[in-house]
Amino acid sequence: MAREVVMPKLGATMEEGIIVSWLVNDGEFIEEGDPIAEIQTDKIVLEVEAESSGHLLKKLYDAGSTVKVHEVIAYMGEENEAIEQTENFSESKDNKLEEINEQEKVRKTPAANKLAKDNGVDLSLVSGTGPNSRVQKQDVENYLQQDTSKITPLAQKMVQDLKIDDKELIGSGQHGKITKKDVLSAVTKTTSAQERESSQLKKVPLKGMRKVIAERMSESYYTAPHVTLTTEINMTECVILRKQLLPVIEKETGYRLSYNDLIVKAVAHTLSKNKALNISLQNNEIYFYEEVNIGFAVSLDEGLVVPVIENTDQIGLAEIVKRSKEIVANIKNGKLSPEYFENGTFTISNLGMYAVDSFTPIINQPQSAILGVGRIVEKPVVKNGEVVINSMMQLSLSFDHRVIDGAPAAQFMTDLKENLENPFRMLV
């Protein structure tokens, strides 16, 4: 009976191979294991060996041909044997003779055969995944890896009892044999993980404010291409100004002036002159806001809110102090009225009270820009050719590059720097 010689699958990713050359002529006798042809994969050139002795009846492809894996490339059989007849014969899947033959002889690729011989694997025990259940090299590799004899009887009983997948265990015994120790080790790991889960980890469903924040942050991050510019501000003048204004504003408002108030004032002042950042992209339309409504991030136990001071650029510093303090007090008292959070056009996220120098804030959609504020630290700086100690602070501006270009963003930062470094001007 004519036997198929197929393009072997020589690697997990191999889809096709090139017949580099035929090493046997039609009609020529070949011993089992002798090479028939050279095959090139995408990586190497290998030989296809005869699975059994016989005559090469017919080559189906010329050298240089590209053939898909498992395709028949030639037939072998008895001398002068007719192929057509045997082709039909072999295709007759319900033919009993075929079944008997298949039982007696395992269909396998040469690579699988070699790997099996090298490792002493009985191919009749390996399930073939190739055409007509032909055993592939990968099948033998899988069989070698899944050798179930590599577990001690005790470990086997424990695995069954504890319903552990022994394939996930790493054997520490001789030649990787899975032992009791390995099972116990896996159980200990699982148990301790479960214990951790039950005693140390608290699972809380994502809901409420946290869910809204999560959705909005990821939506903003993945829809708006963020660009972040950073600059360092010399806050020395702001420190002086604050010190001077503290008693004045406290007397007027009853609240203490914070650096955040000064920054809100400076940002509003700068934004009113850099309206290119006071915009929003919604439904493919760019909204240019006339009002400058600064939002500032306030951290609560449940999450983060951004109340807004409307027309921030229109009001004085004392009013900013008053409004911001009242809003924060109300929010922290649970008065989360919607009006506090409406109509924001730009956000400030200030982490200056923490040990944070700079960070890249995520834009509070549908706004197009956000300013991240770091802490104020005293640093040696060069001023007029001399090293002096000044109060320095870093600012990071994240902006939506879909609607804001780098230059206006950089101009905003430049102006903001100018304003914060000369804060008295803002009050004029």
Binding site: T152, P153, L154, A155, K180
Partner: protein, 459 residues
């Protein structure tokens, strides 16, 4: 100066086995031995005692031959012949070790090994000193008999295992202080040869570290043989009068006993030889060198194996430790596993145990099942005329894991190897029950006890 990969101080079963494996693995090995190769095991322990025990067994069997219809007349025993035969056995074995060491190109130095530092060892031989350089050191200096503080002992002639195997004449009577393995084995020997033997043991039973039932069985066997066994007794003073050793022995209750014998054997335990380590700052655990799981001392390139680190103080454990150290020197990071160590007593009612004893399991609070099968029902034991004994297997009821085994009876010191195999390969009592054993054989007791353990007892 040649730098060795490893210098081993001590040519006993810990040292020479490590040397052979090390050389096989391509290490350059030096072995230093101050006395004879083979250590205590070959020269003053396992091998001479087992040679003598075989003599005792032969004599006992001749005695029992009458029951089987074998009449032997004029049985004569020669102490000189026994010593001579024992020496020939020892010589053969020593020559074997020498040949192996030579074949593996191990440089053997005869002298006292003294560790100078973690890289240098000095060999002192005939007042000559040679300094050897090395990357690793294995201390395998073994132990020597422990001599207890007893009033008057320093003034009497007594034996230890260092001298007892070279006795020229058979003593009419012998007192053995210590009812441990050495004590009971030599009591069996000298009793069989014809001496009147007394064992004095401080514990409440002989071979106190072993299974209580096994201990009782051996006590009965030795007692039936005519050996006087005093447990719960302490020797308080010794004196010598007219060549006789006079012992004052005090019972724990305070009652005094006076024992007189021709010879006195001290067999209360062993203390480590620390001569090699005087110049280095090793950390000790009592008298023994402290080592970690990898048998490293506090100096990472200095390892210690065998009696010098305490623990089991068995030749096969020392050898296993030596092999483990070589793996570690080769960088394979192997921990010493003491969970499946066979322990054998070669008296003519043999005792062999492996794994955890019932006491271990009780003290650890392990939930275990004990199954016992008496040797009486075994056909081969009947044919041998040695039907005293039993096998006990300690298992867990869930998986049938074999926690330990204790065997009493003929050839159990050989049979326990089967227990080693079951346990090492983590076979459970179910596999033990299914295994086909030859018939008739003593091995059948494994199958019997295992089936009994799982409720499918056959006989």
């Amino acid at each position: 100066m040649t730098t060795f990969d490893v210098i081993i101080i001590g040519g006993g079963p810990g040292g020479y086995v490590a040397a052979l494996r090390g050389a096989s693995e391509g290490l350059r090995v030096a072995l230093i031995e101050v006395e004879q190769l083979g250590g205590t095991c070959l020269n003053q322990g396992c091998i001479p005692s087992k040679t003598y025990l075989k003599n005792a067994e032969i004599l006992e069997e001749i005695e029992q031959g009458k029951q089987r219809g074998i009449l032997v007349k004029d049985v004569e025993f020669s102490m000189e012949g026994m010593v001579s035969y024992k020496n020939s056995v020892l010589n053969n074995l020593r020559m074997g070790i020498q040949s192996l060491l030579k074949a593996r190109k191990i440089e053997v130095f005869n002298g006292l090994g003294l560790i100078k530092n973690s890289q240098e060892v000095e060999v002192i031989s005939n007042n000559e000193k040679t300094t050897l350089s090395t990357k690793n050191i294995i201390i395998a200096t073994g132990s020597r008999p422990l001599i207890p503080k007893v009033d008057g002992l320093e003034n009497v002639q007594y034996h230890t295992t260092d001298t007892i195997f070279d006795l020229k004449t058979l003593p009419k009577s012998m007192t053995i202080v210590g009812g441990g393995v050495i004590g009971v084995e030599l009591a069996d020997v000298f009793s069989s040869l014809g001496s009147k033997v007394t064992i004095i043991e401080y514990s409440n039973r002989i071979i106190a570290m072993e299974d209580e039932e096994a201990s009782k069985a051996l006590h009965k066997k030795l007692h039936d043989k005519g050996i006087n066994i005093l447990t719960d007794h302490l020797v308080t003073s010794v004196s010598e009068e007219n060549g006789c050793k006079m012992l004052v022995v005090e019972k724990k209750s305070g009652e005094k006993v006076f024992i007189s014998s021709e010879e006195l054997l001290i067999a209360v335990g062993r203390t480590p030889n620390d001569s090699a380590t005087k110049h280095i700052d090793l950390v000790y655990n009592g008298a023994f060198i402290k080592v970690n799981d990898y048998l490293q001392t506090n100096i990472s390139t200095i390892y210690a194996v065998g009696d010098v680190i305490g623990g089991y103080q068995l030749a096969h454990v020392a050898s296993a430790e030596g092999l483990t150290v070589i793996e570690n020197i080769l960088g394979n990071q192997k921990k010493m596993d003491y969970s499946i160590v066979p322990r054998c007593i070669y008296t003519n009612l043999q005792i062999a145990s492996i794994g955890q004893s019932e006491n271990d399991l009780k003290s650890k609070g392990v939930d275990y099942t004990v199954t016992k099968y008496n040797l009486f029902g075994n056909g081969k034991a009947q044919t041998l005329g040695k039907k005293d004994g039993f096998v006990k297997v300690f298992t867990d009821s869930k998986y049938g894991e074999i926690y330990g085994m204790c065997m009493v009876g003929p050839y159990v010191t050989e049979l326990i190897g089967q227990g080693s195999a079951y346990m090492s390969l983590e076979g459970t009592v179910y596999e033990m029950a299914e295994m086909i054993q030859p018939h008739p054989s003593l091995s059948e007791i494994f199958m019997e006890v295992a089936n009994l353990s799982i409720g499918k007892g056959v006989h």
